[in-house]
């Protein structure tokens, strides 16, 4: 057990830091632009810069344009990045979910997208959830029917992050309604410029339209754009969803316990013992996430899959987010209720639902943890083996 950097990690950290000092903006020195389109464009630009200077895809295999470094190096770079304003958050679906899925399950042609994501050229979205299929994603009803060399897709997706900016989407659709719900699903790559796709932005409490409804009408997808085989969509999707959970917990939140303490200090609240206690609690929560990160990083470096404890990360992150932004509201006093999309704490507070719901609700996470962490038997499932078309709805 050794928590410090290896000499190689330390050298890499110094190199990363020096490059960031030269190319990135220290936190707190820029004011966040409320316009979502600008935010997305800046993420693409930053990703291109990272790529140009050899900082993109650090732990990705070289065959996909990565640098093939151990996972620890990617973590070191992320730790150093946390002190700067720039973020590739808008590319999370592309880099954190689609790329790993295509690496594992894609055809060589499909994998050609990966290099473009790495350069910030392609932005992807995820067309999984439907109005009737949220936590119970496998009941999804969007239909894909074979017509010669193409699949014709009809249906409605929802909570599609950044669909209005996306070049491509990953899509789950039902290719056989006669099979039980998990087995009749296939996984597609869809061109978001297809004329059959209509996007309706959904405005959230933050005032931004991060999410969208996506309507698919006779969208024609070439057969070679299926990822995995017919009916293998659910198992391909598991790769995507596992990646999603770790992406959310590893994300750049735009706030930290340090900024919370700074806020308290700036408002003269640091002498209040009750406030100090809340700041300390926030620190303790962040500490757990940091060390859990060490554990996951260690497992990955040693070529192991992280244990079930890693599942707690996303949940812990969501709870930390909720509790810490509540503390911020406490500190803001009468200012807590002022909001016009530019105040970072109010934005973070109002954005908590995106954190709690993305990648599966807290409750779904707890169920999985109970099963995998403690070996508890599953809840009885009412619909096992029932053909999808016969499910009650």
């Amino acid at each position: 057990m050794d928590i410090s950097d290896t000499p190689e990690e330390a050298a890499f950290r110094a190199e990363a830091r020096a490059w960031l000092d030269e190319h990135a903006t220290p936190r707190g020195q820029s004011t966040e632009e409320p316009d979502l389109g600008d935010h997305v464009q800046r993420a693409r630009d930053w990703q291109r810069t990272l790529h140009e200077h050899g900082w993109a895809g650090l732990s990705w295999p070289e065959e996909f344009g990565g640098r093939g470094l151990p996972g620890a190096f990617a973590t070191v770079f992320a730790e150093e990045m946390a002190g700067f304003e720039e973020t590739t958050g808008s590319l999370t679906v592309s880099l954190g979910m689609v790329a790993p899925t295509l690496m594992a399950h894609g055809t060589p042609e499909q994998q050609e997208h990966i290099a473009k994501m790495l350069r910030g050229e392609e932005l992807w979205c995820q067309l999984f959830s439907e109005p009737g299929a949220g936590s119970d994603l496998a009941t999804l009803g969007t239909r894909a029917e074979r017509d010669g060399d193409v699949w014709v897709v009809n249906g409605q997706k929802v909570w599609t992050s950044l669909a209005q900016f996306a070049d491509y989407g990953i899509l789950l659709a039902r290719t056989d309604p006669d099979l039980p719900k998990h087995t009749g699903i296939s996984y597609f790559i869809v061109d978001m410029n297809d004329p059959g796709i209509e996007i309706r932005p959904l405005v959230q409490m933050t005032g931004q339209a991060h999410f969208n409804e996506t309507f698919l009408t006779d969208v024609r997808i070439p057969a070679e754009n299926m990822v995995g085989g017919v009916g293998e969509g659910w198992s391909v999707a598991r790769t995507t969803l596992t990646s999603e959970r770790s992406s959310i917990a590893g994300g750049n939140s735009g706030w930290s316990v340090e900024t919370l303490i700074e806020e308290a200090r700036a408002r003269g609240r640091c002498d209040d013992p009750v406030v100090r206690q809340q700041l300390a609690a926030a620190h303790c929560r962040a500490e757990v996430l940091k060390v859990m990160g060490y554990r996951i990083r260690t497992a990955t470096s040693q070529g192991r899959f992280p244990g079930p404890e890693a599942l707690a990360m996303k949940l812990g992150y969501a709870r930390h987010w909720v509790a810490s932004t509540e503390t911020a509201m406490e500190l803001l006093g009468a200012d807590a209720t002022m909001y016009d999309q530019s105040e970072p704490w109010q934005y973070a507070f109002l954005n908590q639902f995106a954190i709690r719901l993305g990648g599966g609700t807290d409750e779904v996470q707890q169920n999985i943890i109970g099963e995998l962490g403690l070996g508890l038997p599953r809840e009885p499932s009412a619909d096992r083996g029932v053909p999808w078309k016969d499910l009650p709805r």
């Binding site: 405005v203 009468a334 609700t361 009412a382 499910l391």
Partner: protein
């Protein structure tokens, strides 16, 4: 001892429920949000129904009732997230009537032509009982007010605002006229989370003796009544959000059964229900105590109600929003208003923690 509403009170509660239920529709609430934060048609209907005069003395054309009745209306406002400055206006009016200050405004309160504000929130730790506005005597009982007040509800709509200030080491309330543009009074409209109309007030102005309530106890009384009324709004907010969540989880099917058939869902909803009942109990107890047996006990009871309506309603609206899952994320769906109102009211006149600290000080030193 009888905790039931009297027949007269029940009539008021029913009237308010019907009036707001019929008129404060989602469409009209949305229109007010996009306008100046008030539904003037609804405001006129409330006035016409006599609800604005409920707690005014009969001498001022009111019905001579009290804080309990005011809370019955406030609760229905929360339940329908109705955009009207009811608590702001009526609580301030009670103070004016009681102290015989600005009584010429009271008929206007009753008929809806006058909106009143109270500038209770403070910058920093937001302690309304420690006002930062400084008053100095300017002869003949008149005072000069200098300072700022953040986040004053209904300020941009108001005819006059009650401003707490420090005068010679004690607190006063000064009634500042806003009906005509006055040099030294500056109002900046604010954007709020809940879209409630609020303003920032900057003062450097003289107030005549006739408009000064020079009674150190008046501020605390105004504060306690205001948090009681706000807590009644919170009760309605919690009720409205839980009703919406209960309906959603009973109807939405996942994994072949309604969401409510999962204990993780039903038990969270049950806890929200329990919070609402805690708030209901403490709010009406507080309103009754403040009205009938003011004093230390009433103060403690009111702080307890404020604690529950901050802490509890916060938990309730969070639960209701969370139980809606992705459906609630879209602001076309109305549940988010309960969340925004609940969270805003939970910090407006102090947070759950600050109410606890204040109450703790009282308990530990008595």
């Amino acid at each position: 001892m009888n905790f039931d509403l009297s027949e007269e009170q029940q009539v008021i509660a029913d009237l308010a429920a019907q009036l707001f239920g019929d008129l404060a529709t989602t469409e009209r609430v949305k229109a007010a949000e996009q306008g100046d934060g008030i539904d003037r048609e609804l405001w006129a209907s409330i006035a016409e129904a006599g609800l604005l005069a409920l707690s005014l003395p009969e001498s001022a054309g009111g019905s001579g009732m009290g804080l309990v009745e005011l809370c019955l209306v406030a609760q229905q406002i929360g339940r329908t997230v109705a955009p009207v400055p009811f608590t702001s206006t009526t609580v301030a009016a009670m103070t004016l009537a009681e102290h015989g200050v600005g009584t010429d405004l009271l008929p206007g309160v009753a008929d809806g032509s006058v909106i009143l504000a109270s500038a209770l929130a403070e910058t920093g730790a937001n302690d309304p009982l420690a006002p930062s506005v400084i008053a100095t005597r300017s002869g003949d009982g008149a005072v000069r007010l200098v300072g700022e007040k953040p986040a004053v509800p209904a300020l941009p709509l108001a005819t006059a605002v009650l401003v707490p200030a420090m005068l010679d080491g004690a607190t006063i309330l000064a009634l500042v006229d806003l009906s005509t543009a006055t040099a030294g009074v500056e109002i900046t409209p604010l954007k709020t989370t809940s879209r409630e109309s609020q303003g920032h007030l900057t003062l450097d102005v003289d107030v005549p003796a006739s408009h000064v309530i020079d009674d150190d106890a008046a501020l605390e009384q105004l504060f306690l009544r205001s948090i009681a009324a706000l807590s009644a709004v919170q009760l309605g907010v919690g009720e409205g959000s839980v009703a919406m969540a209960a309906e959603h989880v009973s109807n939405r099917q996942q994994f072949g059964r309604p969401l409510s058939a999962f204990q993780a869902v039903s038990q969270r909803a049950a806890d929200a229900y329990i919070f609402n009942e805690a708030i209901r109990s403490t709010v009406y107890n507080a309103a009754w105590q403040l009205e009938n047996e003011p004093g230390d006990k009433a103060r403690a009871d009111t702080l307890a109600a404020a604690y529950w309506s901050s802490e509890g309603t916060e938990k309730v609206v969070l639960a209701a929003q969370h139980l809606h899952g992705g459906v609630g994320a879209d602001i076309e769906y109305p549940v988010h208003r309960y969340f925004q109102w609940g969270m805003q009211n939970a910090t407006a006149l102090g947070t759950a923690t600050s109410h606890l600290v204040r109450l703790g000080d009282q308990l530990a030193t008595r």
